[in-house]
């Protein structure tokens, strides 16, 4: 089992003929993801890689394929519209990879998606993967292995690093989710923790946070109140100076709030394992799976 996606997931790629969209659509197909359609306005009726039908609109794509999931690779200025188009067409899980979406756009998109009863992951995220079944997004499939560790992270390459180290140590994953580095995103740590808690095949969770905001503190509180499964946490940005945006739009210490120290303290107070280095996840998770 897994969270959010599995081998029954059917995916439409929004922006399938673009540079990033086409590259990753191929990668998803190679991994075995059921990519059932793509959308590029003006290219309706054509096919991608000779097998995947392309549609002009999300509505056409959903009517024709019955897909339940979409992944968004469209440029930042059009991403908000693409997400709302997917939700309006009846897609229930929307994964927005696009980086650089204006944050004010997300203040309209988030309530719209919620009212449609859909879940948004991202934007500015690597997507997610259920090893051996399905990947939606850009996480490299070969670094993952099926198993019982749930992974949730605000980062991309740092997630790959830690997942790779887990895999090499023989610790496979149920699902790896990248929630993204933007200040306003569709799915947060708590959503993923709650899903991992419910998933019978997840036995432990690795959580990778970073400086900025209070998502990690709320996650720690959730772990304390509601999680029976062990959670190990890490915070990137312990050496980051205040007031500077560390690459991710959301990774910024504002005044004295959002520091790594306060997040790590929250983890400890919640009884979570605390990884001081990425490699520490291996021993901390292994000890908790015994």
């Amino acid at each position: 089992m897994s969270i959010f996606i599995d081998n029954s997931t059917t995916v439409i790629v929004q922006g399938i003929t673009g540079r990033d969209g086409s590259f990753h659509a191929k990668q998803m197909l190679e991994y075995g993801t059921r990519v059932v359609g793509g959308v590029t306005p003006g290219k309706g009726g054509q096919t991608f890689e000779k097998t995947v039908p392309i549609f002009n609109t999300m509505r056409d794509a959903v009517v024709a394929t019955g897909a339940n999931t979409s992944v968004v690779y469209v440029p930042p200025m059009y991403a908000a519209d693409a997400i709302m188009e997917a939700a309006d067409a009846g897609i229930k899980f929307i994964v927005a990879i696009t980086e650089g979406v204006p944050v004010l756009d997300m203040t309209r998109v988030y309530p719209f998606v919620q009212e449609k009863g859909a879940r948004l992951l991202g934007p500015n995220c690597p997507g997610l993967i259920t090893p051996g079944q399905c990947k939606v997004g850009i996480i490299p499939g070969r670094i993952c292995a099926p198993g019982d560790v749930g992974v949730v992270s605000r980062s991309g390459t740092l997630t790959y690093e830690i997942v790779y180290q887990l895999t090499r140590a023989g610790l496979g994953q149920s699902t790896c989710v990248g929630i993204g580095g933007d200040p306003i995103n569709g799915t947060n740590f708590i959503d993923c923790l709650a899903a991992f808690e419910k998933d019978p095949h997840t036995k432990a969770v690795a959580l990778m946070g970073e400086i900025g905001g209070t998502d990690e503190q709320q996650a720690a509180e959730f772990v304390k109140q509601h999680m029976t499964k062990p959670v190990v946490g890490f915070i990137a940005g312990q050496t980051a100076p205040p007031g500077r945006r560390m690459g991710h739009a959301g990774a910024i210490i504002s005044g004295s709030s959002g520091t790594a120290a306060e997040k790590l303290a929250a983890f400890e107070a919640a009884g979570m394992g605390v990884a001081k280095r990425p490699i520490d996840f291996v021993d901390l998770i292994r000890a908790r799976l015994k």
Binding site: P76, M77, G100, V101, P102, V103, L104, M106, T107, R108, Y110, P111, F112, I138, I139, P140, I143, S153, R154, S155, G156, T157, L158, T159, Y160, E161, Y164, G181, P183, I184, M208, E210, I211, G213, T214, F234, A236, G237, Q238, T239, A240, P241, R244, R245, M246, G247, H248, A249, G250, A251, G255, S256, A260, K276, R277, P278, I279
Partner: protein
């Protein structure tokens, strides 16, 4: 992106917010000439992207044009939080009856803009929020509907008991919101919003921060960028599409991805070293980015060792290896380099590096330890 007070005031004035006039000077003589046109006491204010300008001595009252010239001479060229002051705003001094705070921020927890107002104005609002949160009134705005009149009036009455002043403040809130939305801001602040002895409500200071993601679609706002106060290395990095933040350590870091870049800096510290910078070369494969990254890092005289940490997913590690070879052929390195790379095309990358006299490690911890030791004067491997 930060913009200056005078630029934020121009934006708010265009929306109709009452703000006293003001002109920008870059020399003491200009400041004197501007003060003369106002024919009253003036305030000379440093225009620099840093808070706490007043405490740092960057805001001074001048009773006549001669004094305006003298204080401008002191403020221009002054350093405030490491930034050099190149411009001052000269504006008539106002008589103040009361000071309030008005701000709107893009609040990540409420996923919406949130207005914050307080009768305790003119001072650090974070301090007020921490010590006396009951003195702050907050209202969340649903951007699909905008700031409603009743919300603006609630905020107005939170500041003033007098109906006329509450209405004036409510009108200012609406205009501030319009400026916030049309500029793509993540913060817009009037601190202080004052009442004058004859009862007028006037904005005396303004601050705006723009969401960098908005700049592509708002060229008129992007044109307000003033990077004269920034570290030249950061300006060069931005122009090369790299995310770079200078720190004061001695291990220069080149990493792909923001999270891994932060984790690499942290690991340098964990092993007893000091990172010289944050540098994210991004997700795409491009040897040119590596060349630019090395140029920027080697320009920092503090850097005693260079550490590459690349996890190849989308990034092809052979592209990074080619970038390192190209860059170091053009400009031979004067400091040792430690290269850690793993992932996509790792075998090819290692071959390229070995053929050019470099060694590469696949282990992050080993590489970081090695770089820290080299920065401390240890021997190159």
């Amino acid at each position: 992106m930060n913009i200056h007070e005078y630029q934020a005031k121009d934006i708010l004035r265009a929306q109709g917010v009452p703000i006293p006039p003001g002109e920008v000077a870059t020399t003491p003589d200009q400041a004197e000439a501007i003060a003369r046109t106002f024919n009253t006491a003036v305030v000379v204010k440093a225009q620099v992207h840093a808070g706490g300008r007043g405490k740092a001595g960057g805001v001074k009252l001048a009773k006549d044009p001669a004094e305006a010239k003298a204080v401008a001479a002191k403020i221009l060229g002054m350093q405030i939080k490491g930034l050099t002051v190149h411009k001052v705003l000269v504006t008539p001094a106002e008589d103040i009856a009361s000071e309030a705070y008005v701000g709107v921020i893009l609040d990540r927890a409420s996923k919406a803009p949130v207005f914050m107002v307080s009768r305790a104005g003119g001072i650090d609002i974070e301090e007020v929020a921490a010590k006396t949160p009951e003195k702050i009134t907050k209202r969340r705005v649903d951007t699909r509907y905008g700031l409603q009149s009743f919300q603006a009036m609630e905020l107005g009455f939170a500041l003033y008991d007098d109906l006329k002043q509450a209405r004036a403040a409510a009108s200012i809130m609406q205009k501030l919101y319009a400026a916030f939305m049309s500029s793509g801001a993540s913060l817009a602040e009037i601190n202080p919003l004052v009442t004058t002895p004859n009862g007028d409500v006037v904005a005396l200071d303004a601050k705006m921060v723009i969401d960098d993601n908005e700049l592509d679609r708002r060229p008129e706002i992007a044109a307000l960028r003033d990077d004269s106060g920034e570290a030249p290395s950061e300006v060069a990095a931005r122009n090369a599409n790299l995310t770079f933040i200078k720190l004061d350590g001695d291990v220069g870091c080149v990493v792909n991805g923001a999270g891994l870049a932060m984790a690499t800096m942290d690991l340098v510290k964990y092993y007893g070293g000091h990172p010289a910078n944050f540098l994210d070369i991004g997700g795409s494969s491009n040897p040119e980015k590596v060349v630019n990254a090395l140029r920027i890092i080697t320009a920092d005289p503090n850097v005693k060792a260079i550490l590459f940490n690349i996890f190849g997913g989308i990034t092809r590690t052979d592209d990074v290896a080619n970038g390192i070879v190209t860059a170091t052929k053009a400009n031979p390195l004067k400091v040792p380099i430690v290269i850690r790379l793993t992932g996509t095309n790792e075998d090819i990358a290692v071959k390229i590096l070995k053929a050019n006299g470099f060694s590469a490690s696949a282990d992050m911890d080993e590489a970081v330890k090695h770089a820290v030791a080299l920065a401390k004067g240890g021997k190159a491997a």
